[in-house]
């Protein structure tokens, strides 16, 4: 442009035109900028900073100046820490104990609501969904009182059942220390998680079932298929994509389990650390031990684990086998 210096200077475009051009070119970016600004400040920066932190030794209360580079030490320290491995085991056990029942209950439930409870579908779904939108803290505190050893309603109920003739022998005579006994604390935590998330998964599966074309069921019933057969051979295979989504969400959520065990078992992780999940241990490492680098490294190790398991899940449920077979 500048080369044609001899050419008569083009008239400067008016302010209005320039504004027009500017906004046409940049308005989209300005409109989407709030997300990116917030994401950069509250999303990307903390992520990158935690990565940076994971290679440093840092006691937050000592100020930023006390940060010291120590290479892979935080990672090796975590990987040789028996408590870290125990927290992973706990997380895995609680994730399985709470994750598997969620789906085993939600899929048949969604199918039943879809086929038999059409008229009250909205109400029933809303009721099942209610725990999901209730505060975790409120739920956990209520369950703590229910599970209480001496004063809990569950033990009172079991005790009353024990007094019954004939079937009384099926119920324990002694009060069970649900949250204070190694064998019961993980199922106790898992049951609260199941209670909370069954409704959420039911809604997911219900929407998946509703998306299955009705003519498939009609064709099946013409061919004489029973309800059980149409569930097994139509609903389940066609729910595959939804299963992938639902299981991925459960997987990520359960591996990051924090509030429920934290309130039910306290920050110590309960008896024998049985309810100490990895995120709780991370929280403890940062908050009580004041070791930010170690906690950051732990979060990255957990991220790697979640990423790997999601990949496995993708392999199992991600591909719709139907398209390949048909």
């Amino acid at each position: 442009m500048q080369a044609s210096a001899t050419a008569p200077p083009r008239p400067r475009p008016s302010l209005g035109t320039r504004w027009e051009v500017f906004q046409r070119r940049y308005a989209p970016y300005i409109f989407i900028s709030p997300f990116f600004i917030l994401f950069l400040v509250f999303g990307l920066f903390p992520i990158l900073f935690s990565l940076y932190l994971s290679f440093h030794q840092w006691q937050p209360a000592s100020g930023l100046g006390s940060m010291k580079f120590i290479g892979w030490r935080n990672f090796t320290d975590n990987l040789t820490d028996p408590t870290f491995w125990q927290s992973l085991r706990n997380t895995g056990v609680i994730a399985l104990e709470s994750g598997v029942p969620q789906h085993l209950m939600a899929i048949p439930l969604a199918f039943a609501i879809h086929t038999s409870l059409k008229k009250v579908q909205g109400l029933v779904t809303a009721l099942y969904f209610l725990p999901y939108i209730t505060s975790v803290v409120a739920i956990s505190i209520i369950f703590v009182t229910l599970f209480s050893w001496q004063y809990g309603v569950i033990n009172v109920a079991l005790n009353a059942l024990h007094q019954l003739p004939l079937i009384g022998g099926l119920f324990p005579a002694e009060k069970i220390n649900w949250l204070g006994n190694r064998d019961f604390i993980q199922p106790a935590v898992a049951s609260v998680v199941v209670w909370k998330y069954v409704g959420w998964n039911t809604v997911l599966y219900l929407s998946g079932i509703q998306a299955i074309p009705a003519d498939l069921y009609e064709a099946a019933s013409v061919d004489g298929a029973t309800t059980r057969q149409s569930f097994r051979f139509i609903t389940l295979p066609l729910l595959r994509p939804i299963m992938f989504v639902a299981i991925t969400l459960t997987l990520i959520g359960n591996l990051q389990l924090f509030e429920e065990p934290f309130i039910l078992a306290g920050d110590s992780g309960g008896i024998g650390n049985r309810a100490l999940t990895t995120v709780m241990y991370m929280f403890r490492t940062y908050n009580f031990y004041g070791d930010a680098g170690l906690a950051a490294a732990m979060s990255w190790l957990l991220f790697i684990l979640i990423g790997a398991l999601t990949l496995v899940n993708n392999r199992v449920f991600g591909k719709s086998r139907l398209s390949g077979n048909d």
């Binding site: 006691q59 937050p60 209360a61 000592s62 100020g63 930023l64 100046g65 006390s66 040789t80 820490d81 028996p82 408590t83 505190i141 703590v144 009182t145 209480s148 050893w149 001496q150 004063y151 220390n177 204070g180 006994n181 190694r182 306290g266 110590s268 008896i271 024998g272 650390n273 403890r284 908050n287 009580f288 031990y289 004041g290």
Partner: protein, 425 residues
């Protein structure tokens, strides 16, 4: 000439006015605004102190920023980490002092111009070492303390025919008396949790130069041959095995609260501050039935305490120190604090107030403050180590493994020693 003079006069006049105005304005503004970060109930203490403080220091205006206990310390951690956002004076609970002592986030009060060392002899002996670092810096001034005491139900003891002295002669005596009390009062427990007893034993009988879990040279003291830890674990296990404890876990847990509210506890070991909770909400219905005495086996230990520190980032350090001095070294103020919230004075001069010879109404007019004063002056200082929180957690975990029978004492202590050692390297 005349024409041009007028505006000039106007300008100079208005300028003079402006200068005068700013001058008078700034003289009103020499009032320093001092911010104080506290948590409940300590905020009530500071609030109660302000009229007296303002009389002495009319030029300092104090602004109280009160946050919930945990939030306050989290906010302070963040402020110290980033180097901004801290208040001029920060309250610090005992459990956090060691954490904040690391690094240079808080000023050294032992140095000039503060010179906190001059007051050392005026304070309960164990408080100063709690706020001192290994390299001799003093990061906070003690204000209140929690002398440990045993609380027991006189009516339960009477029913069982047990004397109060049977409960605190020794730990063995505590257990055998406890068995009688629980037998005579069905549905009651001797103590909320067996682990509380272990905590006391771990904190008593320390050799000089020993911390709770580490010695001066950072050597781990937890070991399967340490008499202190063996005794702590053995006594706790005996209480659990005799079914004497309510297995309520830590203080303020759900079961702990319910057991108190239902009146199912025969005794509890805690700081003197527990009485405040009991009379206000925890065991309101049992006024006059509780009494206080020293811990079993002549044990003296402290349950918490509060401190004030000045962040290095503060711009009003002198005013901050004036306020801290007033709050901690003024006997009248320390007594006022004790009256306001039951915050037991760390200043010895405040402990001779007439109040101490008065009965405590909740404890059936027992002169319990004298019991607590004796305890306070018998508590020995314990060296703090920055890894104490880690070691405490590990020891608590191994204790719970012993209590529920999944590990033997030797095995639990061996494991704990190894776990702490790998952190300490």
């Amino acid at each position: 000439m005349k024409k041009s003079l007028l505006p000039l006069t106007c300008v100079s006049l208005s300028l003079a006015l402006l200068i005068a105005a700013t001058a008078s304005f700034s003289s009103a503004q020499t009032k320093t605004v001092l911010t104080v970060g506290v948590f409940p109930d300590l905020d009530s203490v500071v609030k109660a102190a302000l009229p007296g403080f303002n009389k002495k220091f009319p030029n300092i205006e104090v602004k109280i920023n009160s946050l919930a206990y945990a939030d306050h310390h989290t906010a302070l951690t963040t402020a110290l980490a980033t180097g901004s956002g801290a208040n001029d004076v920060e309250a610090i609970d005992f459990g956090y002092v060691a954490k904040f002592a690391e690094g240079g986030g808080l000023v050294d009060l032992a140095k000039a111009p503060y010179g906190a060392a001059q007051y050392r002899s005026q304070f309960v002996a164990y408080t100063y070492p709690q706020a001192m670092t290994d390299d001799g810096r003093m990061v906070a001034m003690p204000t209140d303390i929690g002398p440990g005491s045993m609380f027991y139900r006189t009516d339960f003891l009477k029913k069982a025919g047990v004397q109060a002295a049977d409960l605190n002669r020794s730990w063995d005596s505590y257990i055998s008396a406890g068995k009688k009390i629980v037998a005579a009062n069905p549905g009651t427990f001797l103590i909320p949790d067996a682990s509380e007893v272990a905590q006391i034993i771990i904190r008593t009988g320390l050799a000089s130069g020993e911390g709770l879990y580490f010695d001066k040279g950072n050597k781990v003291l937890v070991s399967p041959v340490s008499p202190r830890f063996i005794q702590a674990f053995t006594v706790a296990k005996a209480i659990r095995d005799a079914k004497l404890d309510a297995r309520a876990g830590g203080a303020f847990s759900g079961d702990w609260t319910t057991a108190f509210q239902k009146g199912n506890l025969a005794s509890e070991v805690s700081g003197a501050w527990l009485v405040g909770h009991m009379q206000n909400w925890l065991a309101k219905d049992y006024a006059g039935k509780w009494a206080s005495q020293q811990l079993p086996g002549k044990s003296y230990t402290s349950y918490g305490g509060s401190f004030y520190g000045i962040p290095s980032q503060s711009k009003n350090k002198d005013a901050a120190w004036s306020l801290i001095q007033y709050l901690t070294t003024d006997p009248a103020q320390q007594i006022l604090a004790f009256k306001t919230t039951g915050a037991f004075p760390a200043l010895k001069a405040a402990q001779s107030a007439p109040l101490f010879n008065e009965g405590v109404p909740y404890l059936a007019d027992q002169k319990a403050r004298l019991v607590w004063r004796t305890a306070a002056n018998n508590i020995r200082p314990i060296d703090v180590n920055k890894l104490d929180p880690v070691a405490e957690q590990i020891v608590n975990d191994s204790l719970s493994a012993v209590l529920d029978g999944s590990k033997t004492i030797t095995q639990a202590l061996t494991d704990a020693q190894a776990l702490i050692a790998r952190r300490a390297r």
